[in-house]
Symmetry: C2
Subunit: 425 residues, 2 copies
């Protein structure tokens, strides 16, 4: 279907292409935070923001902010944000699509001569991906006022995070000044990074929550025996026990995902054995489980079921350490009223949509701590992400951007009509 949109897919495609060209040449597409390549990308974004009529600045946390002042004081700022840094050998869309959508929204507003009552900002958040410092979402954590001060001393490749933030134009000495209290709504567009929208032939996913992420380690101890001389009934094979746990994790996850209580997924992503010699029965194994739940209750059920399965995996000579939670982040629900505005925008535009949780973390999860926040997903081919073949159609991104633009207009009208700050609560 050809639609008559305010945003222009051709400009979105050109922006994505322009940023894609700013990549480490030997490993497309790579523009890691805190590198000269990243600054080259940032310079492009800054020029593009200014060309779209945005006034740019870099806050103390190194976020690049393009601002368009509103007609009225005191309504707060509507923010469209995401990030332009990539993982190594990453894609052209993860984060980038969201910043470009914000940029295109600013251009579309200018094209149509629309002056909002609210201030509008487009933010390129610093270092959403895990960077050399081993942590993610530097910029959005700081905007939420929850970047641990101790992290500034983390060092990698001979610089500290504080020096890294300074190198992109931030001012880590006054990091707390990056904390925002003026945001009336935070909106993020992102590629889904999963196959659901494509599979269901939908245009937009309205994200109900960022799933909680719990990382769990399980260690299995058995006994190293000679692979040739130890009878099958006299072994304590740690790999065999661990393989049973891998299958149990999947079985429990399938059950929980099918309960109708929202998104649940669990993955054994790291798995190793010792000693790893052809002729020795494995003496130990280690599993790292990544579990994601839209509802906290699902995660608690998972941990209980996993513990039970670990206990039953103990056979003579096999000790399965109780599951050890290494990190545990609860789910972040989106703002319900904001979800309704997005839904209304979709319906008005005749956009096919569904509600869904995000299994991945995003900058939005941090802004949700200080403001009504929500995000929209657009489909990406085969659900592929964090890989060179990541692909999203410019028309699909444009449709998501149009939904955000319409949502912004609805929020702005609602505040103007009511004469007060729009209240998402």
């Amino acid at each position: 279907m050809t639609r008559n949109l305010s945003v222009r897919p051709d400009r979105i495609a050109a922006d994505i292409e322009a940023l894609a060209e700013i990549t480490d040449p030997d490993r497309p597409w790579t523009r890691r935070a805190f590198t000269p390549r990243f600054l080259q990308g940032r310079a492009w974004v800054d020029r593009a923001f200014r060309a779209a009529g945005l006034e740019t600045r870099i806050d103390a946390a190194g976020n690049l902010i393009g601002r368009r002042a509103g007609r009225r004081e005191g309504l707060g700022t509507i923010v469209v944000g995401s990030h332009t840094d990539t993982v190594p050998d990453g894609g052209r869309y993860d984060g980038i699509a969201g910043v470009v959508a914000g940029l295109e929204i600013a251009r579309a507003l200018a094209d149509r001569g629309i002056a909002l009552d609210h201030d509008l900002e487009v933010i390129d958040c610093l270092a959403e991906e895990v960077s050399i410092f081993g942590v993610s979402c530097i910029g959005s954590r700081a905007a939420a006022g929850v970047l641990p001060a101790a992290w500034l001393e983390r060092s990698a490749e001979s610089i500290t995070l504080a020096e890294g933030i300074a190198s992109v134009g931030g001012d880590p000495g006054v990091l707390e000044s990056a904390k925002r209290d003026d945001i009336s709504a935070f909106l993020e567009l992102h590629i889904e990074q999963g196959p659901v929208l494509e599979r269901e032939k939908l245009d937009v996913g309205i994200v109900t929550a960022i799933a909680g992420i719990t990382r769990i380690e399980v260690e299995v101890a058995g006994r190293a025996d000679h692979a040739g001389t130890t009878p099958m009934d006299a072994r304590a094979d740690a790999l065999v026990a661990a393989a049973g746990i891998v299958l149990a994790v999947r079985e429990i996850a399938i059950d929980l995902a099918g309960r109708g209580d929202g998104h649940f997924a669990a993955t054994v992503g790291e798995f190793s054995i010792e000693p790893g010699a052809a002729n020795v029965v494995p003496s130990s194994a280690r599993l790292l489980i990544d579990a994601r739940a839209e509802a906290r209750g699902l995660m608690e059920t998972f941990l209980e079921a996993l513990s039970a399965r670990c206990r039953t995996a103990e056979t003579p000579g096999i000790i399965v350490g109780p599951p050890r939670v290494l990190s545990d982040n609860p789910p972040t629900p989106s703002d319900p009223a904001l979800l309704d505005e997005i839904t209304a925008a979709c319906d008005g535009l005749d956009v096919r949509h569904r509600r869904m949780a995000s299994g991945a973390g995003h900058d939005m999860a941090w802004f949700a701590r200080i403001a009504p926040a929500a995000m929209v997903f657009v489909p990406c081919r085969g659900g592929r992400s964090h890989a060179p073949d990541e692909w999203a159609d410019s028309d699909a991104i444009a449709l998501g951007a149009e939904v955000l633009l319409e949502t912004i207009l609805r929020l702005d009208r609602r505040a103007s009509n009511g004469g007060t700050t729009w209240d998402a609560s």
Copy 2:
């Protein structure tokens, strides 16, 4: 039970202790072939052989041979052999017990003033364990005339195998001269390296065969997906598929081991996944299976059953490469008549025994190609081997040595009585 033996447990204990002291001091017990430490051990063995009345020499393949001439020509040589090299951080008994048993047999014959009709040799075979050159049983392969000439050019740590053989006193230029055609019986004593004798409270295992060893690689290809965003029903998780194969290998092996067709064991000793990142669904897995069968038919059944399970492990997105045989050595049966002589010796000594296969490879497997060969196992604590806590009782080793001595006397008498070479066939 205190027995009146010809061999002396106290001398065996002293020999084991003396060799144990010749170890890399920071990692007991380590005396790797082709190292100065190994030569130090060899010097001790040479002195001990000569003190026991054996005439010593080193053959072209680097085997250290202690010889005691017989009274009659043309009966051939009865050999007692094993090895004194160790794995890194290995034990004090693996191989060593067999050489010490041969040494003690020579001393016991001297003590009792027994002159055999046969020539008798005790052989410390070169490099039975996998050495820096990546292969095993250098000396015994050469004695059987089957050490591939190309192996001499293998190099590691700046020397070739040829140079390594020369460094221990061999003469690789005339390697073929190490091939034996005069051996009328080859006997080896070894610790069981498994738990069966200890579990069944037996003194000696009479080894019916060296199990065949087949190494099989299975590769599983799936698809790397985001662990958070990919629903459980949209994954092609290579680890999950591989875990199923690990359990299938065990299940098939338990079935085959219980069929009453002799020893069978299968082990997944190497197991790895890619990419091995916490938040990525594993895209590939590799299994290395070590399978051992006393009867060739069991191995063929195993390979068929494994192939079938690999095929059924294929689900949408998962490709399981057909099992790839990396190496395949058939079983080596012991000489049946020699087994009967050992059994008669055991019965005469009132030694509790059983027949059993060896799941591990030994020098005997190579001598079996050129001579009637057999071996006896003695129990070791917990079946532990290739580890610092490997332990066998001196009394247990002595009992095994007494069985070999009695077997040698029986073979010698049989040849003398018949007036011809003892014929094991």
